[in-house]
Each structure stands twice: as structure tokens, then as C-alpha cells.
């Protein structure tokens, strides 16, 4: 049997080879090439450590632990490499890359990199970051939806994750989250004490099992707050087009497969609808009603839902204050109207509108019963035409940016 070190080294060599072969392929997005380089460098470091093990072997438990870490890195990064490989596929909406990347730069910072690709999983954005390699925003639509430019608003959610980390929102809200979890455990004390097998409320802070449960709930609550922050940022940046894209992908809510790291899709929709007016957005009619109630929920889910509801005001405030700091603008009515007029005339929008304004206009038209009623040849393929118009509008924005006349 091959030694653990030798077989791990072989696997690392194979992944490095694979990275190099993807890197050599054509049509690679420049940001994707940088990501591949960063991943390759990471595995080169692991390679060197394994070579050191061969020269001067440490205790077997140390070797096993480190090889396990390397194995988990292979598990973690191979899907990213696949994502970068698929980023070359012509079905990806490359046209929106430029405007979205500029928006990402405005929202996050100059060093951010954006990669548009697709996933062979319907769940969008399975990878919210490039492992522990910073500054990459991954925009990965389900492969069957990859050509749908009207789903670009979902990028707003992905912009939220690096902001949450960079701005240390975790730290800012840490104590409030911890306190909210404890408050909810106390509020449901009769059920909680049965579950934990403890008698007094004070034991919530001293009993090892109670602390472990509080820890897990706090971790999940933090993850849920991050997701809500990201949704709210998406709503702020893309207005009602974010709700449309969200509903298109997630309604009625996959109720049987909810992860504790996310609020239920229904709660997310409810939050978006509530927060919309704060950002000057009108949520689409019937948006929240599209999402089903989860039929069976456990105590953890209920506590987490209450914690998120308790902290909603802070999260909305965090988005408002961050947007103000970065001078970010939500989609404006004038830009929406200009885009709507152009798209309705089956023409791309001009640089009087931003990409989020174009997307709001496109979703608005998509839901209009009377769109192109008098032009049946357009009406028959209205979704396709609208999609093409959004893509062309993005190219127009890119053109004006290149010639130095970006709005």
C-alpha cells in the first residue's frame, strides 16, 4: 500500500496539473486566470510540506491530520476549479461582466475580482467565495439558467459576502447576536429545558451541553444574519429586480430542504418585502405570497427565525450606513423610465441608465400583459428578446465606459 504522504502528494500533483491545463485553455476570463494561479500557489505550498514529511517524518498522527487537511482542500477547491473551467462556456452572459464588475468595485473595493460562470446544481451560488482566497466574487447561475441575463441582480447578494467579512459585521453584531440567542432560549424556556435536560436558566451559561447548543445556534444565527445582509444589499443595489430574480430562482421555497445557515426562503422574502420601502423600492405585487410556509420546523429553526427577526432593524441599518459610506445609489426612477422606454421600443437602453435600472425596467416589462401586443413576432419570443436587449444594453454601457462617458 502506498504511504499516506506519497498518495497525498500524487493527488496534489494531479490537481496542480489540472489547474495548469485549465489555465492554458482558451476564452478564460482574466479574473479566472488569477484565481487559478492563486489556487495553484496554495497547492504548491502543500506540496512542499509533503516533501518535507518525506525527508523528516513527523509522528503519524501529525501526518494523518495534515493529509486530512490537504484532502479537505482538494474537496473544497476542485469544485472551484470546475467553476473556473465552466467560466469559459459561451452560454455565460459575458456581456454583463463589465457593468457588474464596475458595480462590484464601487460596492466592495478596487481589488475585487468577478467571475461569471455556471453550476451543475440548481442551487445558485453554491460557492460564495473562492475557498479562503480573498477578493473573488463568484457569480454562478444554474447551468439551465446561465443565459438568463435578467438573473444578474442575484450578483448583489454575492457582493454582500465580502463586504460582511471586510467590514467586520460579524464583530459589530457579535454580542447582539449572542444576546438574541440567549433571549430566545429564555423565551422558550419550558421547551429548552426539556431538550437540554437542565433545571435552571443560569445553566444556559455554565452547562457544557447548553453552551455547545448556544454555540451552534449563535454560529447559525450569524450565518443567517450574513445571508439577510446580502439579500438586503442585493435589494438596495438592484431594487425590485432583485425580488424578481430571487423569486424566479427560489419560489416557492424548497421547503423540505432548508439549511439552518439560511432563513427560510419565505422569511427571506418577507424581509425583502418589509425592507423594500426603506430603500425606496416597491416589491413586486404578490412576491411574498409565492413562498410556501415550511410545514414542519424544529425548535432550532424557530429560535433562529426569531433571532433574525429581532436583528432585522440592525441589518437594514447596516446596509443603509454602508451604502452611504460608499456613496452607493439604488436604481433611480429616471434611469428606470429611460430604460423602459428604450426596451419597449425593442432597442437597447442608452447610458442614461445603469445596469440595475435596465434590469428593473426589463422585469417590469416582462410582467406586463400588454407588452408588444401589436407586434406578434416580438411578443411570441418576448423573454428571449428582452434577454437579448438586456445583454445589448450591457454592451452599450461597456462601450460608453470605454470611451469615457459612463453614467
Amino acid at each position: 500500500m502506498k504511504s499516506l504522504v506519497d498518495s497525498t502528494l500524487e493527488k496534489v500533483d494531479h490537481v496542480i496539473d489540472r489547474i495548469h491545463s485549465v489555465r492554458r485553455s482558451s476564452l478564460l476570463q482574466p479574473d479566472a486566470a488569477d484565481a487559478l494561479t492563486a489556487i495553484a500557489e496554495k497547492f504548491q505550498l502543500r506540496r512542499k510540506e509533503l516533501e518535507d514529511f518525506i525527508k523528516d517524518p513527523p509522528a503519524s498522527a501529525v501526518i494523518a491530520n495534515h493529509c486530512d487537511i490537504i484532502l479537505s482542500e482538494l474537496f473544497r477547491y476542485l469544485p472551484h476549479i470546475g467553476f473556473l473551467h465552466r467560466a469559459r462556456h459561451p452560454s455565460n452572459p459575458f456581456e454583463v461582466h463589465g457593468p457588474l464588475r464596475r458595480l462590484a468595485t464601487e460596492a466592495i473595493g478596487d481589488d475585487v475580482r468577478l467571475i461569471i460562470s455556471s453550476e451543475w446544481e440548481f442551487s445558485p451560488y453554491t460557492h460564495s467565495s473562492m475557498g479562503d482566497i480573498p477578493n473573488f466574487v463568484l457569480l454562478g447561475l444554474p447551468a439551465s439558467e446561465a443565459e438568463n441575463a435578467l438573473l444578474a441582480p442575484i450578483a448583489g447578494h454575492e457582493f454582500g459576502h465580502p463586504i460582511w467579512k471586510r467590514e467586520g459585521m460579524d464583530k459589530t453584531l457579535s454580542q447582539q447576536i449572542e444576546r438574541a440567542v440567549l433571549d430566545q432560549l429564555r423565551a422558550r424556556w419550558s421547551e429548552v429545558k426539556k431538550e437540554l435536560g437542565i433545571e435552571k436558566e443560569e445553566e444556559l451559561t455554565t452547562n457544557p451541553r447548553a453552551i455547545s447548543v448556544r454555540a451552534a445556534l449563535t454560529t447559525y444565527a450569524r450565518a443567517q444574519c450574513e445571508e439577510v445582509f446580502c439579500d438586503l444589499l442585493g435589494l438596495f443595489l438592484f431594487g425590485e429586480s432583485y425580488c424578481h430574480a430571487f423569486a424566479h430562482l427560489l419560489a416557492p421555497g424548497l421547503v423540505a430542504h432548508q439549511s439552518l445557515s439560511y432563513p427560510t426562503d419565505r422569511q427571506r422574502a418577507e424581509i425583502l418585502e418589509k425592507a423594500a420601502s426603506r430603500f425606496g423600492v416597491t416589491a413586486p405585487t404578490g412576491f411574498f405570497a409565492l413562498f410556501q410556509v415550511q410545514p414542519s420546523r424544529d425548535l432550532s429553526s424557530e429560535i433562529l427565525a426569531s433571532v433574525v427577526a429581532d436583528l432585522l432593524e440592525e441589518l437594514v441599518g447596516a446596509v443603509e450606513s454602508y451604502s452611504k459610506t460608499r456613496n452607493l445609489q439604488p436604481p433611480l426612477e429616471a434611469g428606470r423610465v429611460a430604460a423602459r422606454v428604450a426596451l419597449e421600443a425593442a432597442a437597447p437602453a442608452s447610458n442614461d441608465s445603469t445596469l440595475p435600472e435596465v434590469l428593473c425596467a426589463a422585469w417590469d416589462l416582462r410582467t406586463r400583459e400588454d407588452l408588444w401586443k401589436s407586434t406578434p413576432y416580438l411578443r411570441e419570443v418576448r423573454e428571449r428578446i428582452l434577454n437579448d436587449l438586456v445583454l445589448k444594453s450591457a454592451q452599450v454601457l461597456d462601450y460608453w465606459h470605454l470611451v469615457g462617458a459612463s453614467p
Binding site: N65, I69, S123, D132, G168, A215, T218, S259, D298
Partner: protein, 149 residues
């Protein structure tokens, strides 16, 4: 937007779990070198000591001064798992044991490692291995998991 697996996260005072697992593994590697009479690189040991000191709610400079209270439930739970899942797993019945183990590591990390005997280095290495494993061990899927019907 929607991940298929629950992610593990650590409190803000600590590193990202994968980074913490890797750092703790590097600590175990260098301390193991010390156990075998080789030179110990103090940098990763100090880095982990500083992170744990933060988890204990104290500065590394003040770490030798005495006991501090564990800062939050997540750090406490992580370190409890570290003791329970390390090479010499310990069944934790009181939080004080967790605190003491973390404190011992923090105190040792600020000392000249070449002055520590092999037994101490081995104990610190095992603790680091426990932290490395605990940092990448998922938490229970539903901590209060009785479904409502």
C-alpha cells in the same frame, strides 16, 4: 446564495475554520519537530496562542497573569470539541477544564519553546491537533433538533 451544506464558522475573534485548522496543523508539525529534538519554529505557535488568548478574552501580553473567562459560547464549544476529539481525548464535564487547557497553551506559547521539555511539547502538540480537528468538525445539524409535527 443558497449553499447545499451547512458551513462551519467560528466566532469573530478566531480565524476562518479552515485557516484555523491549517494553522493548528502547522503548530502540531513544528511542535512535533521539537519533540524529536529538532528546532521549533515559534511563529505558528505564537499565532495560535494569540488567537486562543483572544478567545479567552485577554491579550497575549497579559496571558501569564492568570485565568480569564472564556469569551463566548462558540470559542468554548470549539475548545471543548478540541479536547474531546484530540489524540488523547478528554471527556469534558466542566468548562473550567477547557479554560485551563487553553490557558496552558497560551502561557506556553509566549515562552521560549526551546526551554520546554519533550513531554510538555508533546502535550501542546496534541492540543494543537485537537484544535485542528475540532475546527473542521461540523456542528450538529440541528442543535435542538426535535421536529415539530
Amino acid at each position: 446564495m443558497q449553499q447545499t451544506q451547512d458551513k462551519i464558522a467560528l466566532p469573530p475573534g478566531l480565524l476562518d475554520p479552515t485557516e484555523l485548522a491549517l494553522l493548528a496543523s502547522h503548530v502540531a508539525i513544528t511542535l512535533d519537530a521539537g519533540v524529536r529534538g529538532r528546532t521549533v519554529n515559534p511563529a505558528p505557535v505564537r499565532a495560535l496562542g494569540a488567537i486562543l488568548a483572544k478567545g479567552l478574552g485577554q491579550s497575549i501580553e497579559g496571558s501569564a497573569a492568570g485565568q480569564a473567562k472564556l469569551a463566548d459560547p462558540e470559542t468554548t464549544a470549539l475548545l471543548t470539541r478540541a479536547l474531546a476529539t484530540g489524540t488523547k481525548s478528554v471527556a469534558v464535564s466542566e468548562i473550567g477544564e477547557v479554560q485551563a487547557a487553553a490557558q496552558a497553551f497560551v502561557n506556553a506559547s509566549s515562552r521560549d519553546l526551546s526551554t520546554l521539555d519533550q513531554e510538555t511539547l508533546a502535550a501542546l502538540r496534541d492540543f494543537a491537533l485537537g484544535v485542528s480537528l475540532a475546527a473542521r468538525t461540523p456542528q450538529s445539524i440541528s442543535p435542538l433538533g426535535v421536529p415539530r409535527l
